[in-house]
Symmetry: C2
Subunit: 528 residues, 2 copies
């Protein structure tokens, strides 16, 4: 996430200290590993790489200490894969005594294209402060430089911005101390016959690992925080891989502990310097609290969590249902917008209606588990939602759902209606066949988040070949363009597209893109 | 100092651990004081200020926490006077939760003109790394920012380079924790009738205080190290003011402990990360070790130091005398150059000859004290040096000393010959009268170091009014142009001149400029 802009300074929050304490009981252990840089590289034009650049190896890392650097010289270190962690390196001098400080610039990059862009040219709306560049003066050498901040990167470009002409600097033993609450030893990586799918799985796993920190972060390079809608996908991917249920519990408690005074859950929360709810609210993100709780229950069967959090989930459903008419029609509201996707170029009414149904069904399953006497009421609301959907939102002639007053046909409506299982399996398959024929290739969608839902809808509609084809053409295409981890945004029509106008701000390891590990596990392993 | 460029990588040094240990026994106590910023200012064009800029007060510092800063905003803090120390400040945020780091630039300036220059434009030969700018990312607010490096400054410009548009930053309680081994409580500031001289004394005292650190530094902003020739003037100024004799002892031992294998003392030494002699050697600077020891003995009468260091002083004289012919003529040598002044636009032969005589006379006084049986030998060498000087270097007709094969007449030769007392007092007075008439106003000299020697020569020649006039027209002019401390370089003909082509690199608190405190004490107080 990170493409929604709300300021709601006046919102008051009701902190629940008991739930906050539980969130902190599940604070994860962070695992640290030291990884050495592997080679020295040059930035190289390459038409088959993202933005037209890759890094060409010019020497093994063992050559690094043999070179001494003078004014304006640069070196690019390649760590061989994407890592999240802290950087350290020995720096010494060669030549006359050190008669001045040395002034160094460090530019950390997830993708080579970032090294081709000058941060001075960035004029986007998102804060420049996210750019992973540091300017460091060192007064005495030799030293072990230990940069205190965490970075998300594979490449590091070091530039000598200021040095005396009487001596040179030498770099030795560059190391990233990686950080993650994911434990790779818990993962049994599936053996897959298809090498492309194998690669997609591996990159997805690396993506999720990088985003698993003190909470599930949306991206370790940028935003670095816990979003509710993203958490839903991260938790599912986590059940398929690392199986760190404590981290999911922590995140569920964090959201539950900090609703607004009217009961809305914030779309995202911060955990540093302390737990703080963001003043951003999204209709569907709030509802996904129900999903995450239901998915968690299904995976772990831990009733304590359900008992603690059922009321919060129910509150989200109740708030959302206020926007649903007696006839079963969801009315969208600008002050509590539905997200569905970054793009605001399509009508979201029907997708929102589907998400309401999707989460209400999950809620009813939970209500049954806790034997909520009001379960019948929710079933009745569900029935009217589904009834309205079938009667008013489906165009029989075209065989697709329509959305909004203009009866717009878009891919999001179809995908979410399939996921909500408003129709039976046969109808769903027909619907997705129509979607493929009439709406593919997908236009104007740049998020793996939306591509995930379309791909999953194909799987749910039992169109496995089409699902795999879409996965390969989307996530597989990122791999072809050089992805070590999956990106926050990718539009196959315009691979160089960044939502912020600069690769320097784009997160190239973004949690909501990791879902192939979940889809592969759920649909390609279990079913085969 | 800092305008000489030598690389002598092949030189070997003979460390004397015993003397190094003694140097470290005299390591000074550093005094710390907290000083708050006093006001907020704007950079303002002003024809009567250095480089055409001053800082105009716009608000009391109490206004600072009332303002919140957004993208690209700047603020200039004025600390009311020049300080050397570490900066700290509280930073908090106002508005929505902190959804991004904040990226700040800190530019520390001794003089307002530095704030008018963009460091990106600096292309000089001296390392950019000296520019007092830092770029800092802060991931969590509120925080107490404590910058780890020491700065020399009065002004601090803070720029918001990157911030989210959802919140703003607020700055509170900016403090410099000053550092100096000088103790102001030891100084009895003289009551002077002349307000201009009073001001010059105060600025000189502040300059020396800023340069007294773990050693006598040449400048706390730039170079930050101990130079032998500069130490001579700092020690004299210190005897007149702070009277910290331990710091002089430390510095004497440091030089004595690290001669080259052929006995030369380095022109400067480093003390971080450990004691390191620079690979730079200057004929006159080595000889000034003798001066410093003689001046110290005269001030303190501590015989232990003399006994420990006499041999090192004698070695310097012996090495130097090898360059003196039997007839008493000093032959300059490019591999062991004489400094005299930064300018290389004048012939230094006669000034070098005078420095040889000046230091040899001081050495003979020490030789008598230690009852060196070879004293007679040195007296004979002195006699021939003086004889040669009078016979060959003085132009009777013009009434001035000449220098080099071209018989060049320059101010350095006259000043140093007066300081060396080659002539009697009456002749010296005549010589300096001729100098004033024929060579004033001084041309093409930009160092307070050279101006010091000319001013002192006027005092020694009993031309007190001329000396005071020169002091006011030089140091007084710096005060008029806004000096809180005296500058490393100042050419009254071209006030904006920087030896490095940029005010950003110029040291505006430089030890060799502090000598008015010495001259005032020696010639205006004792004689009156």
């Amino acid at each position: 996430m990170a493409f929604t802009f709300q300021i709601n300074n006046d919102i008051k929050f009701k902190y629940n200290q008991d739930l906050l304490n539980k969130a902190n009981q599940y604070r994860p252990t962070i695992n640290y590993h030291s990884v050495n840089a592997t080679s020295l590289g040059n930035l190289n034009k390459s038409t088959n790489s993202l933005g037209g650049y890759n890094i060409k190896k010019v020497a093994d890392i063992s050559e690094l200490p043999k070179h001494s650097f003078t004014q304006d010289e640069k070196v690019i270190l390649d760590f061989g894969d994407h890592y999240v962690g802290r950087f350290s390196m020995n720096i010494k001098k060669l030549g006359s005594p050190m008669d001045a400080p040395v002034f160094l610039k460090f530019k950390f990059a997830e993708m080579p294209v970032e090294l081709a862009e000058d941060s001075a040219n960035y004029r986007g709306w998102l804060s420049k402060s996210w750019i992973q560049e540091e300017y460091i003066h060192l007064d005495t050498l030799p030293t072990r430089l230990e940069l205190p901040r965490r970075y998300s990167f594979r490449y590091l470009e070091i530039t000598i911005l200021g040095i005396s002409s009487k001596w040179q600097v030498v770099f030795e033993n560059p190391v990233v101390t990686t950080e993650s609450s994911a434990d790779l030893s818990k993962v049994s990586v599936p053996k897959l016959a298809d090498s492309e799918i194998t690669k997609i799985y591996a990159v997805g796993l690396k993506t999720l690992e990088g985003c698993m920190q003190d909470v599930f972060e949306d991206g370790p390079k940028r935003d670095q925080r816990l979003w509710l809608g993203d958490l839903r996908l991260q938790a599912l991917a986590n059940y398929a891989t690392f199986k760190n249920t404590d981290l999911v519990k922590r995140c569920l408690y964090l959201f539950a502990a900090m609703p607004s005074s009217n009961g809305w859950l914030p779309a995202d929360v911060f955990t540093k310097p302390t737990e703080i709810p963001d003043d951003t609210f999204l209709f569907d993100y709030s509802l996904f609290f129900v999903s995450i709780l239901a998915d968690f229950e299904k995976f772990s069967h831990e009733k304590v969590i359900l008992n603690d959090l059922y009321d919060v989930a129910k509150k989200q459903i109740n708030i959302a249902l206020k926007q649903v008419s007696k006839q079963g029609e969801l009315k969208l509201n600008d002050t509590y917008p539905v997200f569905v996707d970054w793009s605001n170029e399509f009508d979201k009414t029907t997708a929102g209606q589907a998400i309401m149904i999707y989460t209400l069904k999950q809620f009813i399953a939970l209500a049954r588990l806790v034997k909520d006497p009001e379960t019948r009421f929710y079933k009745a609301r569900l029935a009217s939602l589904e009834e309205f959907t079938k009667q008013h939102l489906f165009d029989e002639k075209i065989g697709l759902f329509v959305s909004g007053n203009e009866r717009e046909i878009n891919v999001a409506s179809q995908a979410w209606m399939v996921l909500a299982h408003v129709f039976n399996d046969q109808e769903n398959q027909k619907l997705m066949q129509n979607t493929v024929h009439q709406l593919f290739p997908i236009k104007n969608i740049a998020t793996p988040y939306m591509y995930h839902h379309v791909t999953q809808a194909l799987f749910e509609a039992n169109l496995t070949d089409e699902a795999v084809k879409l996965m390969k053409s989307y996530w597989g295409k990122m791999v072809q363009l050089g992805a070590d981890t999956f990106w926050e945004a990718f539009n196959p029509e315009k691979p160089e597209y960044s939502p912020y106008g600069s690769s320097l701000l784009t997160s190239y390891c973004h949690a909501w893109s990791c879902t192939p590990v979940y889809l592969i596990e759920k649909y390609l392993l279990k079913n085969n």
